[in-house]
């Protein structure tokens, strides 16, 4: 079963004269354990594609199957259920400012069903150790550096045991060495979980971590280059 399977996906914003087509007839497939990078000029529809796969928007036309669930025609509740199984890492780290690093990660592991508080906390700590932040567990986000915050966000996304990880320019706010480290960490951890990764990036220095590279332009997926 593919992690993501799209066929004939189109999406438009606005209505009437203001209507603007952002995605045209996109078809793609991502297998479990595959790391796919998506690049393209800004405004080409990458983020829209990511939000559609991430069940954050309702599908207008085309078939979308994510982790075995049909998303076209799915209601609010169904999309929320699918989101629980998808890890998301954002451009801004979007950590909760009032929580410590450990608590932020636990907001991810809290989504795991049937685990007691301690088990969920231990899970959070395990992931913080995995991203190398065992000494920063009790820090508040504003006391962490950009790279550390992004690593907390990765730990949070993985703590819910996702089968698919979506990342939108995770290195945008980081210097090149840190960015490289974060992406490699992301790749290693995702592979251990045989979790598929779809990452949107502009950063040419990290393209080599991908199994496959997708390029978009004007809402269309360009044919793969060998």
């Amino acid at each position: 079963m593919a992690a993501v399977e799209l066929s004939g996906l189109s999406h438009a914003y606005g209505r009437g004269a203001m209507r603007r087509q952002v995605l045209q007839n996109i078809s793609l497939r991502i297998d479990p354990g595959e790391v796919v990078l998506l690049t393209g000029p800004s405004g080409c529809g990458k983020t829209t594609l990511l939000t559609l796969i991430g069940a954050l928007r309702s599908v207008q036309s085309g078939d979308v199957t994510v982790l075995g669930e049909r998303l076209d025609g799915a209601g609010r509740r169904r999309r929320q259920q699918v989101r629980r199984r998808i890890g998301m890492i954002f451009q801004g780290h979007n950590l909760l400012r009032c929580l410590t690093a450990e608590q932020n990660v636990q907001m991810g592991s809290d989504l795991l069903p049937g685990l007691g508080y301690r088990a969920r906390r231990d899970e959070a700590r395990r992931w913080l150790r995995a991203v190398g932040l065992e000494d920063q567990m009790a820090q508040m986000p504003h006391d962490l550096s950009g790279g550390q915050k992004q690593r907390v966000a990765i730990a949070r996304a993985l703590a819910a045991h996702p089968r698919l990880l979506l990342a939108d320019e995770p290195t945008a706010a980081l210097d090149s060495a840190t960015g490289r480290g974060v992406v490699e960490l992301l790749r290693t951890l995702a592979l251990e979980q045989s979790c598929a990764v779809l990452m949107v990036t502009h950063d040419p220095r990290i393209l080599d971590v991908a199994d496959r590279l997708l390029r978009m332009e004007d809402g269309c997926l360009l044919p793969p280059v060998q």
Binding site: T47, F90, G92, M107, L111
Partner: protein, 389 residues
């Protein structure tokens, strides 16, 4: 199966509230202020209604006759005394006693200024009082020109109680007639009367010579043990002409309270004041929660993107409201107690905390906070998780 400890979560609502302690303190000050406002207004209102019947509660009567022209304790009209005597014809009436009731001008013996005081004139041999201690004191009134002074009267009447306790002979004038204070009682002031004095019928009539002698203001009727006051009341109503009204004791109390409640604006004003406190509180809590939710909107959207349900987030905001309510109530309660003490001290009105009012204000604050959090939640529905990418 979900066990209780598995349900334990990070106390997100609490952490969200306490992240900015200054803002939390300002919010709590606002909520407490609203609570204090409600405590004060409701306290004044209830105090007024309680105080207006302190004198009414004194009498140990089953039925009461008053004139239909009487409006309230400060505007009592007379009716023919023989109506009261007529009721003795009823086999279930055990005894009756007439009471004279009216305002008099009391001269402060220290400053020589006049001030209206509520005077009750009754038969000292048969005073019909609930409190046996009070009934014993009335013996001294058999001598003419003697009065019992209410030591809870406002200080404007003069340092009567203090002088009396010091053993001095306290004498002053009422409407040009000399009276002597023969003892002290504790009744309490009301919004209508700043002070009270008790005296005998004879003294009362001497002080107000222009009063028609056959007229009384209140007639107290005591029934034989085991008789049904409602039945006798209905019978007397039928038998007596309509220049008197027959009331049960509770009816007499209600008559007075209804006057203050409906015929004056006082009850309305205090209820409105409490409502204002409620509205002010609502606005403050709503502001706090609304900014709080707006402030954390990206974080809420992140949680929704992670797969948290909207209802889970609504629960977070609702709990914030409940925490605010409880934390704001405690200082409001304590300040309310303090202010009641202060008001009691300054006005001698029986304003005090009671369980009903404590609960009423708690419920109002809870409703205020929960309603505001529900309103602020509408903002949450706008949190589009797609916007955060």
């Amino acid at each position: 199966m979900k066990r209780p400890w598995q349900g334990r979560r990070i106390p997100l609502s609490w952490l969200l509230l306490t992240r900015q302690p200054i803002r939390l303190l300002v919010a709590l000050a606002g909520i407490s202020f609203a609570g204090i406002l409600m405590f004060m207004q409701l306290g004044f209102r209830d105090g007024l209604f309680d105080a207006s019947v302190t004198v009414h509660r004194l009498f140990d009567a089953d039925l009461v006759l008053i004139s239909p022209r009487s409006a309230s304790s400060v505007r009592m009209a007379g009716f023919p005394r023989r109506r009261l005597v007529q009721t003795l014809a009823d086999p279930e009436v055990e005894g009756v006693t007439p009471v004279h009731w009216g305002l008099m001008l009391w001269r402060n013996p220290e400053t020589r200024r006049n001030r209206a005081i509520l005077a009750l004139g009754f038969n000292p041999d048969d005073p019909f009082f609930m409190d046996p201690g009070l009934a014993q004191k009335t013996g001294v009134l058999k001598q003419k020109g003697r009065i019992l002074f209410d030591q809870l009267s406002r200080p404007e009447f003069g340092p009567i109680a203090q002088w009396h306790r010091e053993g001095r002979t306290v004498e002053t004038e009422i409407a040009g007639n000399r009276v002597r204070v023969a003892g002290l009682v504790s009744l309490g002031t009301s919004f209508g009367a700043d002070g009270n004095l008790l005296t005998s019928t004879e003294t009362f009539l001497d002080l107000l010579p222009q009063k028609p002698p056959g007229a009384i203001e209140v007639g107290l009727i005591r029934l034989r043990a085991g008789s049904d006051p409602d039945r006798v009341l209905a019978r007397l109503k039928q038998r007596l002409p309509d220049d008197v009204i027959v009331l049960s004791k509770q009816g007499f109390i209600d008559f007075e309270q209804n006057y203050w409640r409906s015929s004056t604006s006082i009850g309305f004003i205090f209820t409105l004041g409490a409502a204002m406190g409620f509205v002010v509180g609502c606005v403050i809590v709503y502001q706090v929660l609304y900014t709080d939710v707006s402030d954390h909107l990206p974080e809420y959207a992140t949680l929704m993107a992670m797969g948290y349900r909207l209802s889970h987030l609504l629960g977070v905001v609702l709990r914030e409201g409940v925490y605010l309510a409880v934390m704001g109530y405690v200082p409001a309660y304590l300040a309310g107690q303090g202010l009641y003490w202060f008001v009691r001290d300054a006005t001698r009105l029986p304003v005090g905390m009671n369980a009903t009012r404590a609960l009423t204000v708690l419920v109002m604050i809870l409703v205020m906070c929960v309603a505001s959090s529900l309103l602020a939640m509408r903002r949450l529905v706008d949190a589009d998780p797609a916007e955060i990418f």
